[in-house]
Symmetry: C2
Subunit: 363 residues, 2 copies
């Protein structure tokens, strides 16, 4: 499993840095995308991700630098990929996303070789700014795009949006509220199921159990009886289960307290760090975070890895011209974690096309 950063800039894309787009590549090779700013399809072409592997797209909020690449990406997936006829591209995000994508695809008369479906997270009243009604948008559902399937509306229960339900062997996704600048913004918590432990093949052979269907039963926790009448208990030959990974990917945010509980004990936290600590007032005014705030959140949820992204264009990478360096942001997060004595959490500074492996740890 890998997190691949396709764009790490805030506000607008440049030749050197794309805007928000993060790929989560699962062990089975399929890819989930989180946000899709303008130019994400160009970044994808430079990366290890093949567009045809994308099965789900999650949009944290509807600001343009997280959204405006979506219609083009969907159109390009359709021109470049041989997909199975029963494939459904599932898209999740704030209310309004469905109408935006539908209108963009209808107006451009984009035919797709697959179906798609948009599931909307319905806002809670505390997510709406006072002037929300001044920015009303059309939500009529009278006519779908020719390849569109009617999506669902996902409402919160106790501040938690169940985006993809937990089932036995399925990765689940929950969403929580990210306070941001006058727009509903969400963080997503991806939880892999635990995987079965490893069978002790040597021991099984010594017990006279040869590879075959009985192995599968033992692997799934069932005790068996061998052909010669011996009982073999699953827990005697099965190693400890491998704990599923938990990854939390935040939208733009200056306060995510409402989702601490669902994000607790994340193996990795992707968190924005738009501006350095000394610019905290500026950051808060724009609904953003500093590295200190991101580190405090990593501490609050007991995260093991903090991945910083969404950097202001004022910060330069090492191959760029003069200006304040991105490394400031990493140092400030590390200092905050040290201050909080949260030493088991590492900090990684994202950069475009960076691939971060997420190892599955045994319990």
């Amino acid at each position: 499993m890998q997190v691949v950063f396709l764009g790490t800039a805030s506000c607008f894309p440049t030749a050197n840095r794309g805007v928000s787009c993060i790929a989560l590549r699962h062990e089975d090779g399929f890819v989930w995308l989180f946000d899709c700013g303008e130019g994400s399809q160009i970044q994808l072409q430079k990366s290890c991700i093949r567009p045809g592997k994308i099965t789900k797209i999650f949009i944290t909020h509807l600001h343009g630098d997280h959204l405006f690449g979506l219609p083009g990406l969907v159109a390009t997936i359709s021109t470049q990929c041989a997909v199975k006829p029963d494939f459904i591209l599932e898209i999740y995000g704030p209310q309004g996303l469905r109408q935006f994508l539908r209108q963009s695809l209808v107006l451009s008369r984009t035919e797709l070789p697959f179906k798609y479906q948009v599931h909307e997270l319905m806002p809670e009243s505390y997510q709406l700014p006072e002037d929300w009604e001044n920015w009303r948008f059309d939500l009529s559902e009278e006519r779908l795009h020719p390849q569109e399937l009617q999506g669902t509306q996902i409402s919160a229960r106790n501040d938690v949006w169940t985006v993809i339900e937990q089932k036995n062997t399925k990765t689940s996704v929950l969403a929580g509220h990210n306070e941001h600048l006058r727009i509903p913004s969400y963080g997503f918590v991806v939880q892999e199921p635990d995987a079965n432990g490893k069978l002790d093949v040597e021991k099984l052979k010594s017990l006279g159990v040869e590879p075959g269907p009985l192995y599968s039963q033992l692997k799934h926790g069932k005790d068996i009886v061998t052909p010669d009448g011996k009982v073999v208990k699953s827990n005697e030959v099965l190693g400890p289960p491998k704990k599923g990974r938990k990854i939390t990917i935040m939208g733009d945010t200056c306060n995510s307290d409402k989702m601490i509980q669902i994000a607790m004990d994340s193996d990795a936290l992707v968190h924005e760090a738009t501006l350095e600590n000394s610019m905290v007032e500026n950051a808060l005014e724009k609904g953003h975070s500093t590295p200190g705030m991101a580190a405090s959140y990593a501490f609050a949820i007991n995260a093991k890895l903090l991945l910083l992204t969404h950097f202001s264009q004022r910060y330069r990478q090492s191959n760029e011209e003069d200006g304040p360096r991105l490394e400031i942001l990493q140092r400030e997060a590390e200092e905050k974690l040290a201050e909080l004595k949260h030493s088991k959490c590492s900090v990684v500074l994202a950069q475009d096309l960076l691939e971060v492996p997420l190892y599955r740890l045994s319990t």
Copy 2:
């Protein structure tokens, strides 16, 4: 006056080539943009064009590779540019454009420091494919974006859309029909007014007329009487007028016969040449042109310069890896022009960021 190519690829953008976006830089420094595919704002940053100089944007048709960069560009103009409070960004394009831009800006809650206005070209029935009604989009006008001014609807008269009217010293724009793939597509004809000729200052001085307000009157075609009672006729001291330039910029097209008359005698013709001559069937099937078709059109309208663009991704630039070369397309256009004995027309192969000066010729 310059044409600056910001994207020359068809269908989808890559790291090496942007999709359709052409800047026309006027002598006064202001810029008109023609089409705005995804990533055009990134291409602009690499170019000589400053976003704050863009005053008008024209969209030839609503396919994504000509359109999907528009909301992001408008948003970025607003964050990067100090504009005058009375500035109005004027946008022209097919019906549906207004609603697309409005919805994108409203959903993303993009506030602008200037006003904008979308003027729509209303389609003629022959532009609509049989299944047009299956792709219906919302055209309700009930509520504008907070910074939006109500735009106009421009209907055709005898197949000509008068986009910007001809006035004495104003550059006019007409539009005509480009046959394309199941979507209304337009070509734009930009006509500069003629400029006054040059005053013969030496002659004026010999007649005893010193620089001052009288020069301006002569320049504007008025005869004058000098302080000592001498009559000086304007046409005796004024050189021949400089003919205004005429530039025709086509949308995607496989047939533009309906606009031959308004495009006649263009100083420059920007025409797509998506696929080479031997692939003409493929080109026509997708509503596109070959270099031979573009050259024939240049001949039909008696153009002096043919600028080819909108190339299939199958053609490689000289700095790219193996594959058919873009130069094939130039050679085929030149061969067609030679065959037609239209020797006064040069062919230029566009490439991203190419700046082509358009000289003003005297009559």
